[in-house]
Each structure stands twice: as structure tokens, then as C-alpha cells.
Symmetry: C2
Subunit: 334 residues, 2 copies
């Protein structure tokens, strides 16, 4: 493996000059540059990034911490991150925590070991205090998840408004008794979606029956189980709003299993718009998060943080979209 000094010798110049053409510096004559370029080609020279990184004290790598790589929701976010990372010569290290809090922290600490220049958190099981403290010291951006009132850069949608929009839609279709399957309520975005739901009920003058609000864990089975609970109520809802698509899919299964039809007997709405939402029958009406955009934006902000171009960053909320498909049908009769 040829190194810089080999190139320098072959080209009859100093290592500094080789380094300069590598960096694309203007202070090299065309003639010299070509000599060097030829020598590099002859020797099939590739710069040793290990050495460069040490010298520049950067890794040109960022780590994106996600709770579970199997979850299709995250792939688009990662793609967005990757898109701008690549443009700027950064590599993306995968920080799949498998829902392990300690692993999450390990990845964040990689920055202190200089194994990464920055981190994007797409999960945040670690204590908010620790994260906020860490954010003071290293370039850190949160995406999809956020911390209430924190002073660090966060890119999400407005989960309250989004959930409220679903209720608007359902109310417009004539639904007056709507069941809600919340996500785990220790997660802030779950609470936000619940809040948006309640807000919507209130605004449309719909009844607020606490037995219509149940809590799942974002999994298909939990959606199924909680939907069954709702449907077995003495006065079951005519629509079920699940806090994510997986639970909505479980809910659809439950409805069908009980001999009812979606959307004729029970409308179902999800949240997130994962690929499966279009595969299930009927195709799911849901809220589409701009996942790719969130990733892009998060990475752009991280880049600014790394380059110390310290613009003040706070909570950035990107617009979501309500995707109307078949799972809540037309206007309710009667």
C-alpha cells in the first residue's frame, strides 16, 4: 500500500505538495499537480484516512441511534440522513440499540472517543437530563423523538396537531364515538397524540368516554388486543384511531375477526404511513410523517453543529400529511 511519501518521491516533490493536490489547494502549479496526479495513479495511491483523521481530529463519521433496525419506519429517516451525509463526505454508522438503554448510551459516548463527529438520536430511552447534558458537549440532534422544552436541536412533526387532524377527518365523516389506542404513555409522542385526540374530541363536541381510550405498545398484537377491548364495550366505537400503523393493522385484524367490516362497521386510522399500510386490506388511512425530510433536516443541522456555525437551533416541526385510503370509507350513515 503506497503512502504519501512514495507518491512524493515518484513525482519528485515533497509530501506537502502531495497533500496540497489531495486537498485541492489552489497553490499548486498545474504542471506540478499533474505530475503528482500521475504518480498517484501509477502507485494506485489511496490516502490513509486513519492518519488523516488523527491529524484533523475528526472521524468524518456520524452515528444514528435507532431503537430497532427491523422497524420499517426508520429506514426512510436513515435514507434522508445518508443522503446529506454522503454529499458532505460523511459516513453513517448504524447504532441499532435493540431497545437497550445502555447500548444507546454507548453509541453516544463514541463521540467522546472521537469515533464519531456527531450523533442523531432517533430514540431516547436514556434520561432526558443526560441527553441534554451531553448535547452541551457534543454535536447532537434528535429526530422523530424529542424532549419537552429542551434547548437542543430536534426535528419532528407536530404530533398533537397531526392527531387532531385525524379526529377532524373522522368527525367530518360523521363519527361521534371514536376509540383511541394510545402508544406507551411514557413516551412523549404517545402523550402528544393522545392530547391531540382529546383536543379534537373537544373541538367537535364529541363525547369523551375514558373507556374509549386504551394503551398499547406500538406492536401489532397490542393493537389487536386493545381493539378487542374497545369492540367489546357495551357501546362500541364506530371508529378506531391507533397511534401507529402496526397497532392499526392489529386493530383491523380484530375487527375482521369479530365478524365486522372495515370501514363499513368500524373505521380504522393509523399513524406513520409505513409500507405495510398499503398492503393490508383495506389500505390504511394514516398520517404520513415526512421521514426522509426529517432525516435530511436532522443531518443538515448536525453538520452545522459540527462545523460550529452555531445558529440557534430549537424544536423544528415539519409538516405531516393525512393520507386518506380505504380504511375509514365514506360518510357514516345514520
Amino acid at each position: 500500500m503506497a503512502k504519501m511519501i512514495d507518491v512524493a518521491r515518484l513525482a519528485g516533490v515533497s509530501v506537502a505538495t502531495v497533500s496540497r493536490v489531495l486537498a485541492g489547494s489552489a497553490h499548486v502549479s498545474r504542471e506540478t499537480r499533474e505530475k503528482v496526479l500521475r504518480a498517484m495513479a501509477d502507485l494506485d495511491y489511496k490516502p490513509n484516512l486513519l492518519a488523516r483523521n488523527l491529524r484533523k481530529m475528526e472521524s468524518k463519521t456520524i452515528v444514528v441511534v435507532i431503537p430497532d433496525i427491523s422497524n420499517p419506519f426508520f429506514s426512510d429517516v436513515i435514507r434522508g440522513i445518508q443522503h446529506v451525509a454522503k454529499e458532505h463526505g460523511y459516513h453513517v454508522l448504524l447504532g441499532d440499540t435493540q431497545n437497550d438503554v445502555d447500548a444507546e448510551w454507548d453509541f453516544i459516548e463514541m463521540i467522546k472517543e472521537r469515533a464519531a463527529d456527531g450523533v442523531i438520536l432517533v430514540t431516547a430511552r436514556t434520561s432526558p437530563e443526560k441527553i441534554m447534558e451531553m448535547a452541551q458537549e457534543v454535536p447532537l440532534v434528535m429526530a422523530c423523538e424529542y424532549i419537552q422544552g429542551a434547548e437542543l436541536p430536534m426535528v419532528t412533526i407536530d404530533n398533537v396537531i397531526s392527531a387532531k387532524r385525524v379526529v377532524d377527518h373522522l368527525a367530518a365523516l360523521g363519527h361521534r364515538r371514536i376509540g383511541f389506542i394510545a402508544g406507551p404513555l411514557h413516551v412523549i409522542i404517545s402523550r402528544d397524540r393522545l392530547q391531540g385526540f382529546v383536543l379534537g374530541l373537544r373541538e367537535h363536541g364529541l363525547e369523551q368516554d375514558s373507556s374509549l381510550i386504551v394503551e398499547g405498545d406500538f406492536s401489532i398484537p397490542s393493537g389487536y388486543d386493545q381493539a378487542v377491548r374497545l369492540l367489546q364495550l357495551p357501546e362500541p366505537p364506530t371508529a378506531i384511531f391507533a397511534s401507529n400503523d402496526e397497532m392499526a393493522i392489529g386493530a383491523v385484524k380484530a375487527v375482521k375477526q369479530m365478524g365486522l367490516k372495515v370501514p363499513q362497521d368500524v373505521a380504522v386510522v393509523g399513524f406513520d404511513d409505513i409500507p405495510m399500510a398499503t398492503v393490508i386490506e383495506p389500505a390504511l388511512t394514516t398520517i404520513c410523517q415526512p421521514k426522509f425530510e426529517i432525516g435530511k433536516k436532522a443531518m443538515e443541522i448536525l453538520l452545522q453543529l459540527i462545523q460550529q456555525s452555531n445558529r440557534s437551533h430549537g424544536h423544528l416541526k415539519l409538516p405531516e400529511k393525512l393520507i386518506v385510503r380505504d380504511s375509514c370509507g365514506g360518510r357514516l350513515k345514520g
Copy 2:
């Protein structure tokens, strides 16, 4: 950020000693070690991996090259890789090519720049010759995909046998006219599956009608389109075997759309066993690749390659499983 010399000074020892306790060397008195450990804790010392990597001329990072991170098939493979990578202190860099051949090559070249110690190829659009040549020079393992007759480590299932098993199953259910939706035939595993299909037909004395074999591109829409072609045949098949689950899902949609029922009128079988296979109705009968195991095994072999413990590695074939669900029903009547 404290460095080694700071720890050394505080502990009243030399940097060499600090380095030794860091490496867990036995040649340090318990007393000294404790002094050093305490100093490290006091200073919140974290070794600078950039420096260590340069010194040891390794990055402790491997890159896994995948064609598209959005494809759910790959997440389990990655999880398997990650599982053993983590055990051995390696980081996993995501090499998402977005189906771009040049990007594939860029990631492989990272090894020459010492930005990665090895590479696992879960895609191989680049020319086989280039890959084989590269494999001579750097630690490289292929997973899921492979190169015919190559001398490099490859971990896959036996696609021929697997496809044949599907035909066995279908034949046992009484199907005699089976349609086959191949993957893109420039990909070797697509050809293998086709070969297994033909093999199965022959073994069971089923008719080989070339109009029953069509080619898709592994996408849902292509599965839909090709299934329509099959079903519009003068003598349509009673079963459709798609070369992956996405195409099978498309096929199921096509069958339903034409007013037919799965599996009563047309049985459908997929390949891969992605999560969606259980969500669609009816749940898909399919071949389950041991994705996690493939990833694990590939990473284990890569580790051996990196550590130069050069055992001879060739094509390793892991056992697949036929998962019988609802999409091909019971024995065909008549």
C-alpha cells in the same frame, strides 16, 4: 478532553503503563493498576480511538453493503452481523447503495483507505471479476448473494433446493399447472430459483409450459403485472410461485382483483418470509431464509479473515425452512 499523558501524570506513572492497564496487560502490579484506574476515572478519560486506530492500523469497523435499506429483508441480516460485530468490538458502517453500482464500489474501496477493516456484500451488482480480485486483497465476504464458482467466502441458502421444495409442496397439494414469477434473471439467485422450479416440475412429471414462466423485478407492482399475465392465459395456472414475497403480495392482489380467491382458486407462494408475509390476507406460504444466521455467520467468517486465521472458506449454504401458512390452502380438489 483528557489524554493519556494527563492520566499518567496524575497517577505518577508513564504513558506506557497507562497503555498497559488499558490493554488489560498482566504485567502491571495491582497497586499501580488501581492508581491508574482512579486517575482515569477522575479525569473521565476516554482513549482517543483515532490515535489508537492509526497506531494499530485498523479501524475496528466493517462495512455492510446493501442495495436498499428500505427493503425489510435486509434488516435481519444486518442484525445478525451487528450481533457478532458488537461482541468483538467492531462497529458497523451502513453501506446503502440505493442500487447504485458506483456507490457499491466506493464502499468496497473504503477498506483500501483503511476506513474499514472488512466488507460484507449483501448485494453484488459490480462485476464478479472485480469482486473476486478485490477479495484477494482485502477481507470480503458475500451474504445472500454469491458468485458462481468463486473462491471467496459466501453465505447463502441453497436457492435451487429451496425453490424445488416449494414445487414439492405444491405438487403434493395436487397442483399440476404452476405459474412461476422469476426475479430479474441477470441475478444469479433468480436463475437458481427458476432452476429449482424447473427441477421440481420435472421430478413430479408436471408440464413445462414456457408461457407459465414470467419475469418480474422483485417489486410488488411487477408481481401484480406478471400474475395478471399468467391468469389471462387460455389455461391459467392453479398456483403461482413468486420468487420473493413482494411479488407474491402483488400476485395475491391480482388474483383478488380478478374476482378469484386465494387459495381456493389460485394458490400463491412467496420466498424470503418478510414481516409483511404475515400481514397480508391470506398469510403467505413462503420460504424462510435464516437471515439472522446468515448475517452472523458472514460476520464470523469476516472476523477470521481479518485476523488472518486463514481457514479455507468457500460457499457455505445454510438451511432454509418452508413456512406453510394460508395462501396455498389444503389439497386441491378435482
